[in-house]
Subunit: 282 residues, 2 copies
Protein backbone atom coordinates (compact mmCIF):
# COMPACT_ATOMS: atom_id res chain seq x y z
CA UNK A 1 0.00 0.00 0.00
CA UNK A 2 2.92 2.35 0.64
CA UNK A 3 4.05 1.51 -2.89
CA UNK A 4 0.58 2.38 -4.26
CA UNK A 5 0.71 5.70 -2.48
CA UNK A 6 4.21 6.55 -3.68
CA UNK A 7 3.35 5.60 -7.24
CA UNK A 8 0.24 7.75 -7.02
CA UNK A 9 2.30 10.75 -5.88
CA UNK A 10 4.77 10.17 -8.68
CA UNK A 11 1.95 9.99 -11.23
CA UNK A 12 0.62 13.38 -10.19
CA UNK A 13 4.08 14.91 -10.60
CA UNK A 14 5.91 14.57 -7.29
CA UNK A 15 9.61 13.79 -7.11
CA UNK A 16 10.12 10.56 -5.17
CA UNK A 17 12.97 10.08 -2.69
CA UNK A 18 13.34 6.42 -1.78
CA UNK A 19 15.79 5.47 0.95
CA UNK A 20 17.39 2.21 1.97
CA UNK A 21 17.89 2.58 5.73
CA UNK A 22 20.99 0.40 5.67
CA UNK A 23 22.65 2.33 8.50
CA UNK A 24 19.69 1.62 10.78
CA UNK A 25 19.85 -2.09 9.91
CA UNK A 26 23.62 -2.10 10.40
CA UNK A 27 23.84 -0.35 13.74
CA UNK A 28 20.56 -1.37 15.35
CA UNK A 29 19.95 -4.85 13.96
CA UNK A 30 23.59 -5.83 13.59
CA UNK A 31 23.31 -6.86 9.94
CA UNK A 32 26.22 -6.45 7.55
CA UNK A 33 25.93 -3.78 4.90
CA UNK A 34 26.07 -6.09 1.89
CA UNK A 35 23.16 -8.22 3.12
CA UNK A 36 21.11 -5.14 3.88
CA UNK A 37 21.76 -3.75 0.43
CA UNK A 38 20.76 -6.91 -1.34
CA UNK A 39 17.50 -6.98 0.60
CA UNK A 40 16.90 -3.33 -0.24
CA UNK A 41 17.42 -3.97 -3.93
CA UNK A 42 15.54 -7.27 -4.18
CA UNK A 43 12.71 -6.71 -1.71
CA UNK A 44 12.15 -2.99 -2.04
CA UNK A 45 13.51 -1.26 -5.11
CA UNK A 46 12.82 -4.05 -7.62
CA UNK A 47 9.31 -4.62 -6.26
CA UNK A 48 8.47 -0.92 -6.31
CA UNK A 49 9.61 -0.63 -9.91
CA UNK A 50 7.70 -3.79 -10.87
CA UNK A 51 4.62 -2.32 -9.17
CA UNK A 52 4.84 0.73 -11.39
CA UNK A 53 7.26 3.23 -9.87
CA UNK A 54 9.04 5.03 -12.71
CA UNK A 55 12.72 5.81 -13.10
CA UNK A 56 11.99 9.43 -13.90
CA UNK A 57 11.58 11.71 -10.88
CA UNK A 58 12.93 8.99 -8.61
CA UNK A 59 15.98 9.29 -6.40
CA UNK A 60 17.13 6.16 -4.58
CA UNK A 61 19.94 6.04 -2.04
CA UNK A 62 21.61 4.01 0.66
CA UNK A 63 22.23 5.89 3.90
CA UNK A 64 25.87 4.74 3.92
CA UNK A 65 26.50 5.47 0.24
CA UNK A 66 25.16 8.88 -0.64
CA UNK A 67 26.46 12.39 -1.28
CA UNK A 68 28.36 14.94 0.80
CA UNK A 69 25.64 17.61 1.23
CA UNK A 70 23.45 14.95 2.85
CA UNK A 71 26.21 14.03 5.28
CA UNK A 72 26.88 17.69 6.00
CA UNK A 73 23.19 18.23 6.81
CA UNK A 74 23.36 15.29 9.18
CA UNK A 75 26.36 16.85 10.91
CA UNK A 76 24.58 20.16 11.23
CA UNK A 77 21.37 18.59 12.57
CA UNK A 78 23.41 16.95 15.33
CA UNK A 79 24.17 20.38 16.80
CA UNK A 80 20.58 21.37 17.50
CA UNK A 81 19.25 18.34 19.33
CA UNK A 82 19.89 17.46 22.96
CA UNK A 83 20.62 14.10 24.42
CA UNK A 84 17.62 14.40 26.77
CA UNK A 85 15.33 15.01 23.83
CA UNK A 86 16.48 11.87 22.03
CA UNK A 87 16.42 9.96 25.29
CA UNK A 88 12.81 11.02 25.86
CA UNK A 89 11.78 9.75 22.44
CA UNK A 90 13.90 6.64 22.01
CA UNK A 91 14.91 5.57 25.52
CA UNK A 92 18.49 4.50 26.12
CA UNK A 93 20.64 5.39 23.17
CA UNK A 94 23.85 3.85 21.94
CA UNK A 95 26.02 6.16 19.79
CA UNK A 96 25.08 4.11 16.73
CA UNK A 97 21.39 4.68 17.37
CA UNK A 98 22.03 8.43 17.65
CA UNK A 99 23.74 8.31 14.26
CA UNK A 100 20.81 6.38 12.85
CA UNK A 101 18.16 8.69 14.29
CA UNK A 102 19.80 11.86 13.02
CA UNK A 103 20.38 10.20 9.67
CA UNK A 104 16.65 9.52 9.41
CA UNK A 105 15.97 13.21 9.97
CA UNK A 106 18.42 14.00 7.17
CA UNK A 107 16.65 11.42 4.97
CA UNK A 108 13.46 13.42 5.37
CA UNK A 109 14.90 16.94 5.15
CA UNK A 110 17.69 16.74 2.57
CA UNK A 111 15.35 16.95 -0.47
CA UNK A 112 14.86 20.58 0.59
CA UNK A 113 18.57 21.48 0.42
CA UNK A 114 19.57 23.79 -2.42
CA UNK A 115 21.63 20.95 -3.92
CA UNK A 116 18.44 18.88 -4.27
CA UNK A 117 16.07 21.57 -5.48
CA UNK A 118 15.54 23.79 -2.43
CA UNK A 119 12.67 24.18 0.06
CA UNK A 120 9.39 22.55 -0.95
CA UNK A 121 6.48 20.68 0.61
CA UNK A 122 7.21 17.03 1.40
CA UNK A 123 5.06 14.07 2.43
CA UNK A 124 6.50 11.08 4.28
CA UNK A 125 4.44 7.87 4.42
CA UNK A 126 5.24 6.08 7.69
CA UNK A 127 3.80 3.58 10.10
CA UNK A 128 2.00 5.07 13.10
CA UNK A 129 4.85 3.93 15.35
CA UNK A 130 7.17 6.27 13.44
CA UNK A 131 5.20 9.36 14.38
CA UNK A 132 7.54 10.50 17.20
CA UNK A 133 10.36 10.47 14.71
CA UNK A 134 8.42 12.69 12.32
CA UNK A 135 7.74 15.13 15.14
CA UNK A 136 11.44 15.29 16.03
CA UNK A 137 12.24 15.94 12.38
CA UNK A 138 9.66 18.74 12.22
CA UNK A 139 11.21 20.29 15.33
CA UNK A 140 14.66 20.08 13.76
CA UNK A 141 13.33 21.62 10.55
CA UNK A 142 11.97 24.57 12.51
CA UNK A 143 15.36 25.05 14.22
CA UNK A 144 17.14 25.45 10.88
CA UNK A 145 14.96 28.16 9.36
CA UNK A 146 17.86 30.61 9.13
CA UNK A 147 20.16 28.14 7.44
CA UNK A 148 17.77 26.31 5.12
CA UNK A 149 14.20 27.72 5.23
CA UNK A 150 12.85 24.15 5.42
CA UNK A 151 9.11 23.70 4.98
CA UNK A 152 8.08 21.40 7.83
CA UNK A 153 7.57 17.88 6.45
CA UNK A 154 4.10 16.32 6.45
CA UNK A 155 3.38 12.67 7.01
CA UNK A 156 0.71 10.09 6.27
CA UNK A 157 0.15 7.04 8.45
CA UNK A 158 -0.42 3.47 7.39
CA UNK A 159 -2.27 0.86 9.35
CA UNK A 160 -0.25 -2.27 9.82
CA UNK A 161 -1.79 -5.38 8.33
CA UNK A 162 -1.99 -8.21 10.82
CA UNK A 163 0.03 -11.32 10.11
CA UNK A 164 -1.62 -14.26 8.32
CA UNK A 165 -1.82 -16.17 11.60
CA UNK A 166 -3.65 -13.24 13.23
CA UNK A 167 -0.68 -11.97 15.25
CA UNK A 168 1.94 -9.39 14.30
CA UNK A 169 3.27 -9.50 10.78
CA UNK A 170 7.02 -9.85 11.09
CA UNK A 171 9.84 -10.23 8.60
CA UNK A 172 11.44 -12.76 10.96
CA UNK A 173 8.38 -15.08 10.59
CA UNK A 174 7.87 -15.88 6.89
CA UNK A 175 4.55 -17.63 7.61
CA UNK A 176 3.10 -14.36 8.81
CA UNK A 177 3.17 -12.75 5.36
CA UNK A 178 3.23 -13.43 1.63
CA UNK A 179 6.37 -12.01 0.09
CA UNK A 180 6.18 -10.57 -3.41
CA UNK A 181 8.90 -13.05 -4.30
CA UNK A 182 7.12 -16.12 -2.85
CA UNK A 183 6.59 -19.11 -5.13
CA UNK A 184 2.97 -19.94 -5.94
CA UNK A 185 2.87 -23.14 -3.90
CA UNK A 186 4.22 -21.36 -0.81
CA UNK A 187 1.73 -18.53 -1.19
CA UNK A 188 -1.15 -21.00 -1.57
CA UNK A 189 0.05 -22.92 1.46
CA UNK A 190 0.24 -19.76 3.57
CA UNK A 191 -3.28 -18.71 2.56
CA UNK A 192 -4.72 -22.16 3.22
CA UNK A 193 -3.23 -22.01 6.74
CA UNK A 194 -4.24 -18.42 7.42
CA UNK A 195 -6.46 -17.52 10.34
CA UNK A 196 -10.01 -16.78 9.16
CA UNK A 197 -13.20 -15.50 10.77
CA UNK A 198 -14.84 -18.88 10.19
CA UNK A 199 -16.76 -20.99 12.70
CA UNK A 200 -15.83 -24.37 14.13
CA UNK A 201 -18.02 -26.29 11.65
CA UNK A 202 -19.55 -25.57 8.25
CA UNK A 203 -23.03 -26.06 9.74
CA UNK A 204 -22.40 -23.48 12.43
CA UNK A 205 -21.03 -21.07 9.84
CA UNK A 206 -24.07 -21.50 7.57
CA UNK A 207 -26.22 -20.64 10.59
CA UNK A 208 -24.27 -17.82 12.27
CA UNK A 209 -22.16 -16.48 9.37
CA UNK A 210 -18.41 -15.74 9.42
CA UNK A 211 -16.61 -12.76 10.96
CA UNK A 212 -14.70 -10.91 8.19
CA UNK A 213 -13.28 -8.42 10.71
CA UNK A 214 -11.28 -11.27 12.23
CA UNK A 215 -10.31 -12.84 8.91
CA UNK A 216 -6.82 -12.51 7.42
CA UNK A 217 -8.10 -13.72 4.07
CA UNK A 218 -10.62 -10.89 4.03
CA UNK A 219 -7.74 -8.54 4.94
CA UNK A 220 -5.91 -9.69 1.83
CA UNK A 221 -8.96 -8.91 -0.33
CA UNK A 222 -9.40 -5.57 1.39
CA UNK A 223 -5.80 -4.35 1.38
CA UNK A 224 -4.43 -5.87 -1.76
CA UNK A 225 -6.45 -8.06 -4.05
CA UNK A 226 -9.76 -6.33 -4.77
CA UNK A 227 -10.03 -2.68 -5.75
CA UNK A 228 -13.75 -2.77 -6.54
CA UNK A 229 -15.73 -1.67 -3.45
CA UNK A 230 -18.94 -3.36 -4.64
CA UNK A 231 -17.18 -6.72 -5.00
CA UNK A 232 -15.70 -6.33 -1.52
CA UNK A 233 -19.13 -5.51 -0.12
CA UNK A 234 -20.59 -8.63 -1.73
CA UNK A 235 -17.90 -10.83 -0.18
CA UNK A 236 -18.44 -9.19 3.19
CA UNK A 237 -22.20 -9.73 3.11
CA UNK A 238 -21.95 -13.27 1.77
CA UNK A 239 -19.58 -14.01 4.63
CA UNK A 240 -21.69 -12.66 7.48
CA UNK A 241 -24.84 -14.24 6.01
CA UNK A 242 -23.17 -17.66 5.98
CA UNK A 243 -23.46 -18.00 2.19
CA UNK A 244 -19.70 -17.89 1.68
CA UNK A 245 -17.64 -20.60 3.36
CA UNK A 246 -13.92 -20.35 4.20
CA UNK A 247 -12.78 -23.12 1.86
CA UNK A 248 -14.07 -21.49 -1.33
CA UNK A 249 -13.05 -18.08 -0.05
CA UNK A 250 -9.46 -19.21 0.53
CA UNK A 251 -9.37 -20.84 -2.90
CA UNK A 252 -10.59 -17.58 -4.43
CA UNK A 253 -7.97 -15.62 -2.49
CA UNK A 254 -5.22 -18.05 -3.47
CA UNK A 255 -6.15 -17.78 -7.13
CA UNK A 256 -6.09 -13.98 -7.10
CA UNK A 257 -2.82 -14.01 -5.16
CA UNK A 258 -1.12 -16.47 -7.48
CA UNK A 259 -2.24 -14.50 -10.53
CA UNK A 260 -0.92 -11.33 -8.99
CA UNK A 261 2.40 -12.89 -7.95
CA UNK A 262 2.98 -14.49 -11.36
CA UNK A 263 2.36 -11.22 -13.14
CA UNK A 264 4.43 -9.32 -10.59
CA UNK A 265 7.35 -11.73 -10.79
CA UNK A 266 7.26 -11.56 -14.57
CA UNK A 267 7.44 -7.78 -14.30
CA UNK A 268 10.32 -8.06 -11.80
CA UNK A 269 12.41 -9.82 -14.45
CA UNK A 270 11.42 -7.23 -17.04
CA UNK A 271 12.51 -4.26 -14.90
CA UNK A 272 15.97 -5.58 -13.94
CA UNK A 273 17.68 -3.23 -16.40
CA UNK A 274 15.74 -0.27 -14.98
CA UNK A 275 16.84 -1.23 -11.47
CA UNK A 276 20.45 -1.50 -12.63
CA UNK A 277 20.22 1.92 -14.25
CA UNK A 278 18.81 3.45 -11.05
CA UNK A 279 21.57 1.86 -8.98
CA UNK A 280 24.18 3.00 -11.49
CA UNK A 281 22.90 6.57 -11.52
CA UNK A 282 23.25 7.12 -7.81
CA UNK B 1 56.45 22.61 15.67
CA UNK B 2 53.65 20.32 14.50
CA UNK B 3 54.22 21.78 11.05
CA UNK B 4 57.95 21.01 11.28
CA UNK B 5 57.15 17.44 12.23
CA UNK B 6 54.62 16.95 9.44
CA UNK B 7 56.97 18.45 6.88
CA UNK B 8 59.73 16.16 8.13
CA UNK B 9 57.49 13.09 7.68
CA UNK B 10 56.55 14.24 4.20
CA UNK B 11 60.20 14.73 3.28
CA UNK B 12 61.05 11.16 4.24
CA UNK B 13 58.21 9.87 2.04
CA UNK B 14 55.06 9.72 4.17
CA UNK B 15 51.66 10.61 2.78
CA UNK B 16 50.20 13.49 4.79
CA UNK B 17 46.52 13.67 5.74
CA UNK B 18 45.63 17.14 6.98
CA UNK B 19 42.17 17.72 8.42
CA UNK B 20 40.16 20.83 9.13
CA UNK B 21 38.00 19.85 12.13
CA UNK B 22 35.18 22.14 11.04
CA UNK B 23 32.50 19.84 12.43
CA UNK B 24 34.07 20.03 15.90
CA UNK B 25 34.17 23.84 15.69
CA UNK B 26 30.60 23.92 14.39
CA UNK B 27 28.95 21.64 16.94
CA UNK B 28 31.10 22.25 20.00
CA UNK B 29 32.14 25.88 19.65
CA UNK B 30 29.02 27.07 17.83
CA UNK B 31 30.90 28.68 14.93
CA UNK B 32 29.41 28.79 11.46
CA UNK B 33 30.98 26.59 8.82
CA UNK B 34 32.14 29.38 6.52
CA UNK B 35 34.08 31.15 9.27
CA UNK B 36 35.69 27.90 10.35
CA UNK B 37 36.73 27.13 6.80
CA UNK B 38 38.30 30.50 6.23
CA UNK B 39 40.31 30.13 9.43
CA UNK B 40 41.38 26.64 8.36
CA UNK B 41 42.56 27.90 4.99
CA UNK B 42 44.23 31.12 6.18
CA UNK B 43 45.65 30.04 9.53
CA UNK B 44 46.44 26.41 8.88
CA UNK B 45 46.69 25.27 5.29
CA UNK B 46 48.34 28.41 3.87
CA UNK B 47 50.83 28.60 6.74
CA UNK B 48 51.73 24.92 6.45
CA UNK B 49 52.37 25.28 2.74
CA UNK B 50 54.38 28.48 3.30
CA UNK B 51 56.41 26.62 5.94
CA UNK B 52 57.34 23.99 3.37
CA UNK B 53 54.59 21.37 3.20
CA UNK B 54 54.36 20.15 -0.39
CA UNK B 55 51.30 19.60 -2.54
CA UNK B 56 52.46 16.14 -3.52
CA UNK B 57 51.54 13.37 -1.07
CA UNK B 58 49.20 15.73 0.76
CA UNK B 59 45.49 15.19 1.25
CA UNK B 60 43.52 18.01 2.85
CA UNK B 61 39.85 17.83 3.83
CA UNK B 62 37.06 19.46 5.77
CA UNK B 63 35.11 17.08 8.00
CA UNK B 64 31.82 18.36 6.57
CA UNK B 65 32.95 18.28 2.94
CA UNK B 66 34.68 15.02 2.20
CA UNK B 67 33.96 11.71 0.47
CA UNK B 68 31.42 8.93 0.99
CA UNK B 69 33.77 6.11 2.16
CA UNK B 70 34.87 8.38 5.01
CA UNK B 71 31.27 8.98 6.05
CA UNK B 72 30.50 5.28 5.76
CA UNK B 73 33.43 4.47 8.05
CA UNK B 74 32.09 6.97 10.55
CA UNK B 75 28.69 5.27 10.45
CA UNK B 76 30.26 1.89 10.97
CA UNK B 77 32.45 3.07 13.86
CA UNK B 78 29.32 4.31 15.63
CA UNK B 79 28.11 0.72 16.00
CA UNK B 80 31.02 -0.52 18.08
CA UNK B 81 31.25 2.10 20.78
CA UNK B 82 29.00 2.39 23.80
CA UNK B 83 27.55 5.49 25.33
CA UNK B 84 29.16 4.68 28.69
CA UNK B 85 32.56 4.47 27.05
CA UNK B 86 32.23 7.92 25.48
CA UNK B 87 30.72 9.25 28.68
CA UNK B 88 33.72 7.97 30.65
CA UNK B 89 36.14 9.75 28.33
CA UNK B 90 34.32 12.97 27.51
CA UNK B 91 31.79 13.47 30.31
CA UNK B 92 28.29 14.57 29.40
CA UNK B 93 27.75 14.27 25.68
CA UNK B 94 25.38 16.14 23.40
CA UNK B 95 24.53 14.30 20.15
CA UNK B 96 26.66 16.80 18.24
CA UNK B 97 29.68 15.97 20.38
CA UNK B 98 29.13 12.26 19.71
CA UNK B 99 29.15 13.01 15.99
CA UNK B 100 32.32 15.04 16.40
CA UNK B 101 34.13 12.41 18.48
CA UNK B 102 33.36 9.57 16.09
CA UNK B 103 34.29 11.78 13.17
CA UNK B 104 37.71 12.35 14.75
CA UNK B 105 38.21 8.59 14.94
CA UNK B 106 37.33 8.39 11.24
CA UNK B 107 39.80 11.22 10.55
CA UNK B 108 42.55 9.05 12.01
CA UNK B 109 41.51 5.68 10.58
CA UNK B 110 40.18 6.43 7.08
CA UNK B 111 43.66 6.63 5.45
CA UNK B 112 43.76 2.85 5.99
CA UNK B 113 40.56 2.15 4.01
CA UNK B 114 41.06 0.39 0.69
CA UNK B 115 39.80 3.52 -1.10
CA UNK B 116 42.71 5.48 0.40
CA UNK B 117 45.47 2.93 -0.03
CA UNK B 118 44.65 0.22 2.51
CA UNK B 119 46.09 -0.69 5.92
CA UNK B 120 49.42 0.94 6.81
CA UNK B 121 51.21 2.41 9.81
CA UNK B 122 50.06 5.90 10.76
CA UNK B 123 51.38 8.56 13.15
CA UNK B 124 49.15 11.26 14.60
CA UNK B 125 50.80 14.32 16.20
CA UNK B 126 48.52 15.57 18.99
CA UNK B 127 48.60 17.58 22.19
CA UNK B 128 48.90 15.53 25.37
CA UNK B 129 45.29 16.42 26.23
CA UNK B 130 44.19 14.51 23.12
CA UNK B 131 45.64 11.22 24.32
CA UNK B 132 42.32 9.72 25.54
CA UNK B 133 40.94 10.27 22.07
CA UNK B 134 43.84 8.41 20.51
CA UNK B 135 43.26 5.51 22.88
CA UNK B 136 39.58 5.35 21.95
CA UNK B 137 40.56 5.35 18.28
CA UNK B 138 43.04 2.52 18.84
CA UNK B 139 40.30 0.53 20.59
CA UNK B 140 37.94 1.15 17.69
CA UNK B 141 40.64 0.10 15.23
CA UNK B 142 41.07 -3.18 17.07
CA UNK B 143 37.30 -3.81 16.95
CA UNK B 144 37.26 -3.57 13.15
CA UNK B 145 39.99 -6.07 12.36
CA UNK B 146 37.61 -8.34 10.43
CA UNK B 147 36.23 -5.53 8.33
CA UNK B 148 39.34 -3.42 7.68
CA UNK B 149 42.53 -4.97 9.16
CA UNK B 150 43.50 -1.55 10.54
CA UNK B 151 47.00 -1.19 11.92
CA UNK B 152 46.53 0.56 15.27
CA UNK B 153 47.48 4.24 14.87
CA UNK B 154 50.50 5.63 16.72
CA UNK B 155 50.74 9.11 18.14
CA UNK B 156 53.34 11.67 19.14
CA UNK B 157 52.74 14.29 21.81
CA UNK B 158 53.59 17.95 21.74
CA UNK B 159 54.25 20.14 24.74
CA UNK B 160 52.11 23.23 24.75
CA UNK B 161 54.04 26.48 24.68
CA UNK B 162 52.98 28.84 27.42
CA UNK B 163 51.39 32.12 26.39
CA UNK B 164 53.55 35.25 26.06
CA UNK B 165 52.17 36.58 29.35
CA UNK B 166 53.17 33.36 31.11
CA UNK B 167 49.66 31.89 31.33
CA UNK B 168 47.86 29.62 28.90
CA UNK B 169 48.27 30.36 25.21
CA UNK B 170 44.78 30.81 23.84
CA UNK B 171 43.39 31.71 20.43
CA UNK B 172 40.81 33.88 22.20
CA UNK B 173 43.60 36.10 23.64
CA UNK B 174 45.72 37.47 20.76
CA UNK B 175 48.27 38.94 23.20
CA UNK B 176 49.14 35.45 24.37
CA UNK B 177 50.71 34.44 21.05
CA UNK B 178 52.32 35.73 17.87
CA UNK B 179 50.28 34.72 14.85
CA UNK B 180 52.10 33.87 11.64
CA UNK B 181 49.99 36.57 10.03
CA UNK B 182 50.79 39.29 12.62
CA UNK B 183 52.19 42.57 11.36
CA UNK B 184 55.75 43.37 12.42
CA UNK B 185 54.79 46.20 14.77
CA UNK B 186 52.24 43.99 16.58
CA UNK B 187 54.74 41.16 16.91
CA UNK B 188 57.39 43.54 18.30
CA UNK B 189 54.86 44.99 20.72
CA UNK B 190 53.86 41.54 21.97
CA UNK B 191 57.49 40.52 22.50
CA UNK B 192 58.33 43.76 24.31
CA UNK B 193 55.41 43.09 26.68
CA UNK B 194 56.13 39.39 27.15
CA UNK B 195 56.81 37.93 30.57
CA UNK B 196 60.55 37.25 31.03
CA UNK B 197 62.70 35.60 33.66
CA UNK B 198 64.28 38.97 34.45
CA UNK B 199 64.76 40.57 37.87
CA UNK B 200 63.14 43.71 39.26
CA UNK B 201 66.15 45.91 38.39
CA UNK B 202 69.08 45.70 35.99
CA UNK B 203 71.47 45.82 38.96
CA UNK B 204 69.80 42.86 40.61
CA UNK B 205 69.86 40.95 37.32
CA UNK B 206 73.57 41.62 36.79
CA UNK B 207 74.16 40.22 40.27
CA UNK B 208 71.77 37.22 40.38
CA UNK B 209 71.27 36.46 36.68
CA UNK B 210 67.93 35.86 34.90
CA UNK B 211 65.75 32.74 34.94
CA UNK B 212 65.39 31.44 31.35
CA UNK B 213 63.07 28.64 32.50
CA UNK B 214 60.47 31.27 33.38
CA UNK B 215 61.08 33.41 30.30
CA UNK B 216 58.67 33.46 27.36
CA UNK B 217 61.28 35.15 25.21
CA UNK B 218 63.65 32.27 25.85
CA UNK B 219 60.76 29.92 24.96
CA UNK B 220 60.51 31.64 21.58
CA UNK B 221 64.23 31.10 20.96
CA UNK B 222 63.97 27.51 22.11
CA UNK B 223 60.82 26.46 20.27
CA UNK B 224 60.98 28.53 17.15
CA UNK B 225 63.73 30.97 16.42
CA UNK B 226 67.07 29.26 17.01
CA UNK B 227 67.90 25.81 15.68
CA UNK B 228 71.58 25.87 16.71
CA UNK B 229 71.98 24.21 20.13
CA UNK B 230 75.30 25.95 20.82
CA UNK B 231 73.76 29.38 20.26
CA UNK B 232 70.89 28.49 22.56
CA UNK B 233 73.32 27.31 25.21
CA UNK B 234 75.24 30.59 24.99
CA UNK B 235 72.05 32.60 25.47
CA UNK B 236 71.05 30.41 28.40
CA UNK B 237 74.42 30.81 30.12
CA UNK B 238 74.67 34.53 29.41
CA UNK B 239 71.22 34.89 30.96
CA UNK B 240 71.85 33.00 34.19
CA UNK B 241 75.25 34.67 34.60
CA UNK B 242 73.66 38.13 34.38
CA UNK B 243 75.63 39.05 31.25
CA UNK B 244 72.51 39.19 29.07
CA UNK B 245 69.82 41.68 30.06
CA UNK B 246 66.13 41.43 29.05
CA UNK B 247 66.08 44.60 26.93
CA UNK B 248 68.74 43.46 24.47
CA UNK B 249 67.39 39.93 24.56
CA UNK B 250 63.89 41.09 23.61
CA UNK B 251 65.31 43.27 20.84
CA UNK B 252 67.23 40.26 19.52
CA UNK B 253 64.09 38.11 19.70
CA UNK B 254 61.97 40.79 18.00
CA UNK B 255 64.49 41.08 15.17
CA UNK B 256 64.56 37.33 14.55
CA UNK B 257 60.78 37.17 14.76
CA UNK B 258 60.21 40.04 12.36
CA UNK B 259 62.68 38.56 9.88
CA UNK B 260 60.92 35.24 10.11
CA UNK B 261 57.43 36.74 9.77
CA UNK B 262 58.41 38.91 6.78
CA UNK B 263 59.90 35.94 4.97
CA UNK B 264 56.96 33.74 5.94
CA UNK B 265 54.37 36.26 4.84
CA UNK B 266 56.17 36.72 1.54
CA UNK B 267 56.02 32.95 1.07
CA UNK B 268 52.31 32.95 2.00
CA UNK B 269 51.60 35.20 -0.98
CA UNK B 270 53.75 33.03 -3.23
CA UNK B 271 51.92 29.80 -2.34
CA UNK B 272 48.35 31.09 -2.85
CA UNK B 273 48.04 29.26 -6.17
CA UNK B 274 49.24 26.03 -4.54
CA UNK B 275 46.63 26.43 -1.80
CA UNK B 276 43.93 27.05 -4.41
CA UNK B 277 45.01 23.94 -6.29
CA UNK B 278 44.87 21.84 -3.11
CA UNK B 279 41.40 23.17 -2.29
CA UNK B 280 40.26 22.58 -5.86
CA UNK B 281 41.58 19.01 -5.91
CA UNK B 282 39.58 17.86 -2.92
Amino acid sequence: MVADQIIFYQEIGAEIFLCSADLEAYVVRGMDLETVRNIAIEEYLTNYIALGLKEKNLRFWFQTDYVTPYYRLRDMLSRKVTFSELNGIYGDLAPGKIFSVITQAADILHPQLEEFGGPRPTVVPVGADQDPHLRLTRDLASRFQTEFRFILPSSTYHRFMRGLHGGKMSSSDPKSYIALTDESKDAINKIMNAKTGGRATVDEQRKKGGIPGECMVYDLFLYHLIDDDQKLKNIYEDCISGARICGECKANCAELTVNFLREHQRRREKVRDVVDRILGKR
